[in-house]
């Protein structure tokens, strides 16, 4: 009897292996420096032939103790560390962290700052999904997609560099605002990028969406049921690919997301192909949001002017007024002053929901800062998801989960 791999449930597949041969289980270590593990993930497999019977992800190779570090520095000093969480979307991390601390201070930033954060977060989402898509393409043997994606991503990084001075480690947010206002003409460049990007995105997606080889590698592979997705705490495209229409931008709007018109992309079966489709559609929706935000970019302040002990005063004030100089000095050395209390904030980041749980005892340093990273939760389903699949399908599954180890290991 030939092995039937059409069973939807991976455990059933494993149970239904042909029994003609006495087989010996083999153990295989994949990673930590394996091209398809996207960083330093190691998975310890137990294999029966080429079929996975047990998978044990070993993480922590990139553990830097970010939470410990956060307890030892002021709120603004930690912003650069958020760049290194999901290093493919630092702008989104910066904004999520700043909003979490602002929730602690019960501080509302002006509309212009909110719109800037929305634009930067959505651009980060596009760049992250382009990377995820390109890398997934390589994982399943489609090199061309990667080249197209990286050309577009490079244009985005040029925009990021113009805005923040850095391509990757942007550190753009401050508690109570952003590091600097938009440079002149930047919004026009963002608009121009959107215009030229959409046809190219269609081209990129057309390379895969009806591609027979890609379909064979992704349709019906790595199916995550709706119930499993919720039980394992998945988030982002991995959750929505399984048909759960959860998006914090819609459900719990922050940073003014309620003003923008966009749709939440949802999959139907929860396989690798659905996760790919969801990411493709999310990029289009992100462009929709960016265009709206660019069109009605509010004027006015780009930082919270009333946040005296939180956001450092403008440089010209610091250099001309004694009070402002003292205030600036206090914010830089003592940190933005926060009330005591506990706050949990989650933002819809490209990889899923990035959460910050901040326990403050007052002052400029958090007592405890827990980072709930989406990649960590998304990977926790691997021991269940990999079982019953071929090793080559695991590569496809890993690519479709689109995780980042910098964020998983923190």
């Amino acid at each position: 009897m030939p092995t039937d791999f059409s069973f939807p449930d991976s455990a059933a597949k494993a149970a239904n292996l042909p029994k003609e041969f006495e087989t010996e289980k083999m153990s295989l270590s994949m990673g930590p420096s394996h091209p398809s593990t996207h960083g330093v993930l190691r998975i310890q497999f137990e294999l029966d032939g080429e079929v996975v019977t047990k998978a044990d992800p070993v993480i922590g190779y990139l553990h830097r103790g970010d939470e410990k570090i956060a307890e030892n520095m002021t709120y603004n000093q930690f912003v650069p560390y958020t760049d290194r969480l999901d290093y493919l979307a630092p702008l989104a991390n910066n904004a999520a962290y700043a909003i979490a601390v602002e929730r602690l201070a019960k501080l509302e930033v002006p509309p212009r700052c909110q719109a800037i954060r929305v634009i930067t977060s959505e651009l980060a989402r596009v760049s992250s999904h382009l990377m995820g898509l390109g890398a997934y393409g390589i994982d399943v043997g489609a090199w061309t997609v990667f080249m197209y994606c990286f050309t577009e991503r490079e244009k985005l990084y040029t925009l990021f560099e113009k805005l923040t001075g850095a391509r990757f480690t942007t550190s753009y947010s401050r508690i109570g605002g952003v590091a600097r206002d938009l440079p002149p003409g930047w919004l026009d460049e963002v608009g121009a990028f959107c215009t030229q990007f959409l046809p190219i995105l269609d081209e990129i997606l057309a390379l895969l969406t009806r591609n027979k080889i890609f379909l064979d590698r992704s349709v019906g592979v790595g199916v995550i049921s709706r119930a499993d997705a919720i039980a394992y705490g998945l988030s982002g495209p991995n959750l929505r690919g399984s048909g759960v229409a959860l998006d914090l931008r819609k459900d719990r709007p922050y940073s003014g997301y309620e003003q923008y018109d966009f749709d939440v992309a949802v999959g139907s079966t929860g396989d690798c192909y659905d996760r790919y489709l969801v990411r493709g559609e999310e990029m289009k929706q992100s462009i929709r949001i960016i265009r709206q935000a660019v069109a009605k970019m509010p004027g006015g302040d780009w930082f919270a002017r009333d946040a005296r002990k939180i956001f450092a005063p403008p440089k010209d004030k610091v250099l001309t007024s004694m009070e402002e100089l003292i205030n600036n000095f206090m914010i830089v050395t003592e940190g933005p002053q926060m009330p005591a209390g506990e706050v949990y904030f989650e933002a819809e980041n490209p990889k899923g929901t990035l959460g910050f749980f901040i326990v403050s005892t007052g002052g400029g340093v958090p007592y405890r800062l827990k980072i709930r990273s989406p990649s960590f939760c998304n990977l926790s389903i691997l021991p269940k998801l990999c079982v019953g699949n071929l090793v080559s399908d695991v590569v496809s599954i890993l690519g479709s989960l689109d995780f980042v180890m910098g964020e998983c290991d923190r």
């Binding site: 993480i59 922590g60 553990h63 103790g65 939470e67 410990k68 570090i69 307890e71 030892n72 520095m73 002021t74 000093q77 929730r103 602690l104 019960k106 919720i230 039980a231 394992y232 705490g233 759960v244 959860l246 459900d251 719990r252 050395t333 003592e334 940190g335 009330p339 209390g341 506990e342 706050v343 949990y344 904030f345 989650e346 929901t353 959460g355 749980f357 326990v359 005892t361 002052g363 400029g364 340093v365 958090p366 007592y367 405890r368 827990k370 709930r372 960590f376 939760c377 990977l379 926790s380 389903i381 269940k384 290991d409 923190r410």
Partner: protein, 202 residues
């Protein structure tokens, strides 16, 4: 699917409201924690476990460790925070929520790894971010930011290389602040310069 507060107050008299700046929060004795989580999941619609973590209130405080769960309702789109204090500081134990949500598995392993809190009933309570033989719990407050010299994970390699995991030079460096301490201590001149490789480590 509305506010869970009346149900919690009625069914869990041992639970008391916990001060919170955002979502509803309750303190609960460890013995009732699982029952409360289950009731929130089944009766109040908080069907997603988004986070499990702990807070170390430092060795002088009693109770020392607080375990915190965050639940999210995928229908009502709300959060709730549940906190329980470990009875013993020397051997902190908390019941495991892995029977309710598989998501708890890795979160509890991480909390065990970082704080040394044992989750009773966890099927596979191993370290997750640090290696298995690592002897310390890094997020405990007495653990220094620099780290503590430790043997390498692999004994064979350690024997061959005669190397150790060394503390990061950053700790004790300029402008590294500590919560509650005087910020002037964080200034470079107040430091013992133990971050300087040339000086002897304290």
């Amino acid at each position: 699917m509305t506010d869970a507060a009346p149900a919690v107050a009625q069914n869990f008299p041992s639970a008391s409201p916990r001060p919170s700046l955002d979502c509803p929060a309750w303190n609960v004795p460890p013995a009732d924690a699982l029952a409360l989580l289950k009731s929130l999941r089944d009766d109040s619609g908080y069907d997603m476990l988004v986070d499990v973590t702990a807070i170390d209130w430092s060795a002088e405080k009693s109770p020392r460790f607080t375990v915190v769960w965050h639940l999210y309702s995928t229908t009502a789109h709300r959060y709730v925070r549940i906190a329980a204090e470990c009875a013993s500081a020397a051997d902190p134990v908390m019941p495991s929520a892995t029977g309710l949500w598989p998501a708890a598995n890795w979160h509890e392993r991480e909390t065990f790894d970082m704080f040394g809190i044992k989750f009773a009933g966890h099927p596979d309570l191993r370290r997750i971010l640090m290696w298995d033989a690592y002897p310390y719990f890094p997020l405990r407050k007495e653990f220094p930011l620099a780290g503590i010299p430790t043997d390498l994970p692999d004994p064979d390699i350690a024997a061959g290389m005669k190397a150790k995991v060394i503390p990061a030079p950053m700790a004790g460096g300029p402008f590294v602040a500590t919560p509650g301490g005087a910020m002037s201590d964080a200034e470079p001149r107040a430091k013992d310069e133990s971050w300087n490789e040339g000086r002897e480590k304290k």
